[in-house]
């Protein structure tokens, strides 16, 4: 396909994903509120927050890297979006996924993290650094079961291309990885809990003890950029899991339902469990999800 229509579709897709991310956050908050017998925020509250943050008149800058941190972060989120095929069978909605495969996405996730870490680091606030060090430390453990799950499905499908993985899952729910490779799915979904940063793995942000962690010093437009990224990232990570484990999506409707359910999984668990410390969450990840992940590989070796 020519490059220009592709860019148009990419922008369109990005727009949809951003909006869906914001609405999804609102819906989830609404659901949480209702669970707590509250009316809760308006569904469109994330939009208002975003507009408000972009409308803040004054900005402070601690330095160049502080300035670039949100850019890195958003690039990370948008980048993952760009490399992710969204809709199965549609060339229009496969973005730039021809440039790289699953590994590219797994590693590109670090791009945003690193940029954020640097930006927050230049803020000079010790809480930022504490938050980052916790986040990174926890992330090392989160990645291990995820890696095992990815290896497992790569063995299963003998490919690392996301499109091909999705293609292999077509033809009914019995072909989804969730059914054909339940162990890998469980390992990955447990690691997804950590990746989303909801309770019990939210010690990075930990508002009460460590004011919002890395973005302590970010405000106004910077915060707006970070929020934009958050909306995109949540959806696109859910899309990744959807593509890998839940049969992908053949149209936008399916995508929206599936990503919502996947994302809701992490929120649901977060509602039930209290917060882990880092030195508790790392051993946890290296025990239960890791063992499940190993089992997922052992199954295929045998």
């Amino acid at each position: 396909m020519n490059i220009f229509p592709r860019i148009v579709f990419v922008l369109l897709g990005l727009f949809i994903v951003l909006n869906w991310g914001l609405i999804m956050a609102g819906i989830i908050r609404k659901i949480i509120a209702r669970l707590g017998m509250r009316r809760g925020i308006k569904v469109f509250q994330p939009y208002i927050n975003l507009i408000k943050n972009y409308s803040i008149r004054s900005q402070l800058s601690h330095g160049v890297m502080f300035y670039l941190g949100p850019v890195f972060r958003l690039s990370g989120g948008v980048g993952i979006f760009l490399f992710m095929p969204l809709i199965y069978g549609s060339d229009y909605w496969s973005n730039f996924s021809f440039t790289g495969d699953l590994i590219l996405i797994t590693y590109f996730m670090f791009f945003g993290m690193l940029g954020m870490a640097l930006g927050a680091g230049e803020g000079g606030h010790p809480y930022s650094a504490i938050g980052i060090s916790r986040g990174l430390a926890q992330f090392t453990a989160i990645e291990v079961p995820m890696t095992l799950a990815i290896l497992s499905i790569a063995i299963q499908y003998q490919t690392l291309s996301i499109s091909e993985i999705v293609a292999a899952q077509q033809g009914g729910i019995q072909n989804w990885t969730m059914v054909t490779n339940p162990l890998a799915t469980i390992a990955a979904m447990l690691s997804f809990l950590g990746a989303m940063g909801h309770s019990p793995f939210n010690v990075v942000m930990a508002p009460q003890e460590n004011p919002v962690g890395p973005p302590t010093e970010y405000h106004g437009t910077f915060l707006g950029v970070l929020q934009t990224n958050r909306a995109i990232l949540h959806v696109i990570e859910a899309v990744l899991y959807m593509n890998l484990f839940f049969g992908g999506a053949s149209n936008w409707g399916v995508l929206i339902i599936k990503t919502f359910l996947i994302y809701f999984w992490s929120v649901f668990v977060g509602m039930v469990f209290p917060r882990f410390r880092v030195d508790q969450s790392i051993p946890w990840f290296l025990k239960i999800p890791l063992v499940i992940g190993i089992a997922a590989i052992v199954v295929f070796i045998i």
Partner: protein, 1042 residues
Amino acid sequence: MVNPIYIIAVLLGTAFLLGLFRKKGFEFGMALGMLAIAFAAVISVHWFIHLYSGTEGGLNIYTAGSKPPFSINLFMGVEESFFMSAINILGLLGFIYLFRAFREQGLKSSVLFLVLIMGMNVLIMSRDIFNLFVFLEIVSIALAGLIYLKRGKESAAAGFKYLIAIGVISAMLLIGISFFYLFAGTLNIDDYLQSNTLPVKGISVAIFLMLIAILLELKPFPANGWALDVYEAAHPGISAMISSGTATASIFLLYKLLPLSSLDWLPYLTVIGAVTFVGSNLLGIVQKNSNRLLGYSSIGQIGLMIAIIGLAPRLGDHFNFIFVSIFISHFLAKAGLFWISGIIMRSNIREWSVLRRNRLSLFMFGLFILMLIGFPPFPSFYGKWQLVMDLAQHKSFVWIAVILAGSFIEGIYLFRWFGYAMKEQDDEEKKIIFQWEKLIPPIVFSVLALGASYYTNNLSLLGPTLNLIPIYFILALFVLDFLPAFVKNSLVIAGMIIYSVLLYPSIADDTLRLIFGGIFMVGGVLTLFAGYSEKGKREGFFPFAVMMYAGLIGLIQAENLFQFFFSWEIMTLGSYILIIRGKKSMKHALNYMLFSLGGAYLIFIGFALSHIGQVTFDLQTLSSTILPGWTYTLIAIGFLTKTAAIGLHIWLPGAHAEAESDVSPMVSGILLKAGVFGLVLLFLLMGAEQAEQKNLLYILGWLGAITALGGNLMAVFQEDAKRLLAYSSVGNLGYILFALAFVTHVGWMTALTYSVNHFLFKTLLFLAIGGVVMRVKTHNMYEMGGLIKQMPLSFIAVLIGIITLAGIPPLAGYGGKWLFYNAVLSKGWYFQGMFIFFAGTIAFLYCFKLIYSVFLGQPKDKFRQVKEAPVWYLIPQIILIIGIMVFSARPDLLLKPVGTMLSQSNYFPTDPLNWENVTASTDLGYWSGYKIMLVIGVMFIILLSWLLLMSRKAQKIKQFNIVYAGERPFKPETTHFSHNMFSHFYKALGFLSIPVVSAFWNGLNSVTHSMAENTRKIYSGNGQTYIVHIMLYIIIIYMLMF
């Protein structure tokens, strides 16, 4: 030709004549004595040249005008003339050396010296056994007198013990001689040999007594306490004579008398020699007194020579070459060291740091030490090479192991000593005078040593195959050391560039060598650029830097095993000296050297094993070795010490961290690749099937995985920036090992890509951090902080470095990761792979710590005025960044040739990577570096402009303008969150970083030391104990032999 008898006559005559002089004629007397020895030297050298070049068999000299048995006959052959030349030259120099001592003690002591020389000459020439006894006694008496040249209680006690011991020994000798006469009826060696008398038991015992007495003269371990006391107590000039002179005479005596015995003495000699070599060196490692240490070393070396004599039948024609090369090394080095010891007059080896005040003597000291251990290009290196190769041909593996173990133990204390001389605190208070006449002898011996090295190279049984241009260059740099640093730096850079250009055509077709050659040479030039920021002369840096690079490039050029090993040793040596130049690197450099030495010896044995049954030393011999498992394992472990696989890694962090700022990138980014190159070469040559059969590759894979995890985990908990990078190198080399162990096409491609990447980013990081360290003068990251404002360029370099290190797209590191997944999946090593990926994520922790603690966070007051790193550090960084960018955008530039190269080799005929323009794809996935770069770049720019638009007028604020719960921060030091940053991580996984390996090596170290410490208690210092040792020794050997 002058009859050699005149040597004796002149020496003896002069000795008598000097006795007539009174105090007034001292100078004249000394001159006369000197002339006499010079005369002897000239004649013996003349004879040697004559006999060596001619075809004559030698000259029999009949004293008293008649043939034996009615007179004593002397014989002058090639061997005799050689050893006599050595002794006479030594004597001449020793005489000059002792000038001052003689002046204090009067001319009569010089008479003793002359008698000593004369005695030794006769010992070598004489063919009459009783005559040998007589002159042995004369030598002993003269020595006993000279021992007391240095007055004092110790000398007297040592002399007494010496005399008593010698008395007992000579009693044995005399009994032996007398019974020999009883049964043989003659005292002439030649007569006996010609007579072919039937051996009876009696004569065997007689000869046993004679030989054992001579052996005891050679101070075998452990019956040598008396000799050690003498070495320690005597004047160093005399010790030199004992160590190099009488030992030479005695060993020749042994060699001469050996044919008398019909018994097979040789195995016993081998055992005695080997026990002496190992035992004596072992005791040396706990010795603190320099002269006694030299004594131990001396005895050890003589033990080695005895062992070589014992092994003679296995060495065949090569015996002479091996023996002479080992002998000449010991002879020159030991005398030189004793002489240096006499110059500086320090008995504790720690105090040898005074040598630094005189560069020349430090140079000579290093030269002699290296010569003793057997480093190239000294003769002993060639000797040991030939020895081990020949032993391997006869499958004498035990002896190879013993000899190399002994050499290794010797290396321990000699290098520790060298470290003290280089780095120990020098007490400036204590004055020292370098006397010129004492400096002459060691200088002459140094020159002789270099000459001997040159000739050994030419005479080497391999022929003059080595490329000597780098060596000449190194020597020239030694000479030019007085020039300012920038001149030398330019010279070296120019030299390396020219050499690379000349070298290029020869390796242009060989992609493997091209890659590693590129790493070595380009890296070398780049890191040398950093050296321009050094002021002053930077003495002693450039020769060794060139030595290291010469070694590295020699590895590339090597066509046979010998050249490879030679280069390997040269490289080790150069890098060792570079490392030890760091401020606190004494201990770490020693660790480095010992591990390298051990590794080199393993490689050495591996080469020897592969040489079994082969005629040439060609590299291809590795492919047809008869013991593939052993060869593979040994050589691989040898290379693994260089790549610092876990278990063998403990030398690396200290060595890399404490080295100078521009040396760290050399040894970390570049040097480590030598081990990788070696492994690649090993696999290519040996063939992986050999290793695979025995699961060795599997083990290597696990080793790599654990190394990666361990190295990265340790790096996380470091506070020292350079140490962090060093541990990171351990981890990264673990990846490379892991990928190498695949022995698949894509696995190797991963390994090579990773090697190049690691070179690029680790050199970059070490240069950048080195520049920072240079400015802030501390290694501790928590003391820095906020340096981004002062050092933006260094920050960018580190940023790019860590992005590459962590493998984040779009930079080059991601290519390695991508290939990695493909390799792991195609090979099926999932669990090892999991270790590696876990290590990869852990890498983020230290990456962040590195860049945050140094460049971000709170700036400290004392670093408010630091400047950007020196421009000479920045230039290579920029070049490296460009390199990273090029490989990131166009990975095909590297990967395509590598793929082709690997396909051409025999092992991996199919290239799993398909290239479509710049997009690589395998069966599993695909990757387009160029497009990724493009997409991310465009996106980044768009987003940046979006943010610039939105917050264009941000107010710049300062470091304490942070929200602090309504309060303000206290101090930058307490606000910078860096120290023990990953304490939570330590709580969770710190148990994995417990230094088990260090504990193991420390335990081994302390066991060795305590063993040596306990064993040396047998030398009680009591003369009678020594006699008991001697008697027991005789009895035990007797029991063993009969």
